[in-house]
């Protein structure tokens, strides 16, 4: 219990630190999207000053940071520099798409990863090299390549699935599979390595000696690997929920990644901050859950500091 509380507090501190650092880093930059837009329309200095003042951009940095953190406590992530849209609203609109995509990709990754990892570690016939190749390619191929090829093959040539947009389950299959392949490869690699280690452990050899069927051996082995697999999965979860920008661009889907890229290109700093903070929060949360799950699955890990 105390360990959980301590972990939570640490996570909170990490979050606060991240928020402050992000804020300071972005605010320290000369120029921003709003000023550029105003300069472009030939606005006089007065107008620019007035606009910046109305957004509180002219106050000393420390005040701004404090104000921002206070806002965070209320759940207020600030407003976009360019259209005054609350960052929270923008996130709320974009989140369902990203959550769907990342969630399904994670599912594909987990199920596919364990499958292909087991195949790569335990099978003897032609399946093994195929599985290992699938893992290697999944880890190495850029998402842009896989995604574009997938669109051409499945949306254009075969016309089985829609190649862009969002709105139905059909729209998610391709993007989730493309993203999921990479996660499956990562989880698969970890699974394969862990299985390899476990199978050379004395107790498993003893169990085999006692005549346990290979199926039950596998289940035992997987259970022993569970903490490692869980950690890897949670790591992937953190990446997925924050790193969908490319997939969203290729498949013309709205989402958090797109939001971030657009904001970065337009130098809309409050938006960049808000999205980045959310991603960081998810990653920290995923790590927490991962640690908790690992601890519950393997009592030996519970006493680690």
């Amino acid at each position: 219990m105390r360990a959980i509380a301590r972990a939570l507090i640490d996570a909170l501190w990490a979050g606060l630190l991240a928020a402050s650092l992000l804020f300071l880093a972005l605010r320290a930059l000369p120029g921003d999207g709003l000023t550029h837009q105003l300069i472009e329309s030939g606005a006089s200095d007065d107008v620019i000053q007035a606009r910046r003042a109305s957004l509180g951009l002219d106050q000393p940095l420390v005040t701004q940071v404090a104000g921002y953190l206070a806002g965070l406590a209320r759940g207020d992530l600030g407003v976009s520099l360019l259209d005054g849209r609350p960052v929270r609203d923008a996130l709320y609109d974009a989140l369902p798409h990203t959550l769907t995509l990342a969630g399904l990709a994670l599912g594909v990754g987990l199920v596919g990863g364990i499958t292909v990892g087991t195949a790569a570690a335990r099978t003897q016939n032609a399946v093994r090299p195929v599985a290992r190749l699938a893992i290697a390619v999944g880890l190495s191929a850029p998402t842009a390549l896989i995604g574009t090829l997938a669109i051409v093959v499945f949306a254009l040539w075969l016309d089985w699935l829609p190649g862009s947009g969002a709105g139905t389950i059909g729209h998610i299959v391709l993007p989730a599979s493309v993203l999921g392949w990479h996660s499956a490869a990562a989880i698969g690699q970890v699974t394969a390595a862990a299985l390899h280690d476990v199978y050379s452990a004395p107790y498993l050899i003893a169990a085999r000696g006692r005549g346990l069927s290979s199926r039950r051996l596998l289940v035992h082995a997987l259970r022993a690997c569970a903490p490692t697999i869980v950690t890897a999965t949670m790591l992937q979860a953190g990446f997925l929920f924050g790193g969908t920008a490319i997939t969203e661009a290729i498949f013309a889907r709205p989402g958090v990644g797109r939001l971030l890229v657009d904001a970065a290109l337009r130098q809309d700093y409050p938006m960049v901050q808000g999205v980045a903070l959310w991603c960081a929060g998810v990653a920290i949360g995923a790590a927490l859950i991962g640690d908790a799950l690992s601890a519950s699955l393997d009592p030996r890990l519970r006493d680690v500091e």
Binding site: D10, A25, A136, A141, L145, I246, V272
Partner: protein, 264 residues
């Protein structure tokens, strides 16, 4: 099979090819609009792109450039990680908790997000992308180094050295570092592979400097526009990235085995 014994071979071959081949191929920047989008053949072994440039030359030069940026990014990551660990060493235990928190925060940001922020801070440009990639991959080191440092401390040498009156810094440099080195190298390999993908991703999203100089990430991005009539244009850099990263990972597998055997 020879592959299993010399796992680093594919990587070495690929790197050598990329470093040497530029002397044998044509000009990657020479345009010939009337010869645009020719399929691979005698005149253009890997075909030509929208502006009639030789894809073989561009792929080779682009690969070299990708290698260099990934290498620079890895150097930044390794250097930064060493500095950071050095700082951790000289910090009193109270401050260490905060430093760990800081690194956990850095670790929390997914690579692409972090990279985008840094790229925004440096207003795009090639060096911005390299710096971003390097910093992005810094966090895993700290966790890795931390773990190996802990296990190294449990080793008898450190206790002995301390008992003999060695200072913290000397302990770190003479006893801990040599033990952590193999892990560091292994992680550097992982970073290298990751840096290739991250800088390609950032290039894909529109960041990173020069328009004309070939680089695999940008080539993949631009090449997609002609995917349907000239698939070789995006496929060459795409497959290039995949092969390069695969060979790095493959070489790492042997490195990892050696590290494990060393520990035991």
């Amino acid at each position: 099979m020879i592959w299993d014994r010399h796992r680093a071979a594919p990587l070495i071959v690929l790197v050598l090819v990329l470093l040497v081949a530029p002397y044998f191929v044509g000009d990657p920047l020479a345009t010939a609009p009337s010869m645009q989008l020719t399929p691979p053949g005698f005149a253009y072994p890997l075909g030509s792109d929208l502006l009639g440039r030789d894809m073989l030359a561009r792929t080779v030069y682009g690969g070299q450039r990708t290698l260099m940026s990934a290498g620079a990014a890895t150097a930044i990551a390794v250097g930064g990680a060493l500095c950071l660990t050095g700082i951790v060493v000289v910090t009193p235990p109270g401050g260490r908790r905060w430093l760990r928190l800081l690194t956990r925060t850095l670790l929390a940001l997914p690579p692409l997000v972090f990279g985008l922020i840094i790229v925004t801070l440096t207003s795009g440009g090639e060096w911005g992308v390299i710096a971003a990639t390097g910093l992005v991959h810094l966090a895993p080191y700290v966790r890795v180094l931390d773990t190996s440092e802990t296990s190294a401390r449990q080793n008898g040498h450190v206790e002995a050295a301390r008992a003999l009156g060695a200072g913290e810094w000397r302990v770190w440099r003479a006893h801990l570092l040599p033990i952590m080195l193999p892990t560091l190298l292994a992680q550097a390999g992982v970073t290298f592979a990751g840096a290739i993908l991250t800088s390609a991703a950032l290039g894909f999203l529109g960041f990173g400097g020069e328009v004309s100089a070939p680089e695999w990430g940008r080539m993949l991005y631009d090449g997609r526009q002609v995917l349907r009539v000239a698939p070789w244009v995006p496929l060459a850099p795409g497959v290039g990235i995949t092969l390069l990263v695969m060979s790095v990972n493959y070489a790492l597998e042997s490195g990892e085995r050696r590290v494990r055997r060393w520990r035991e």
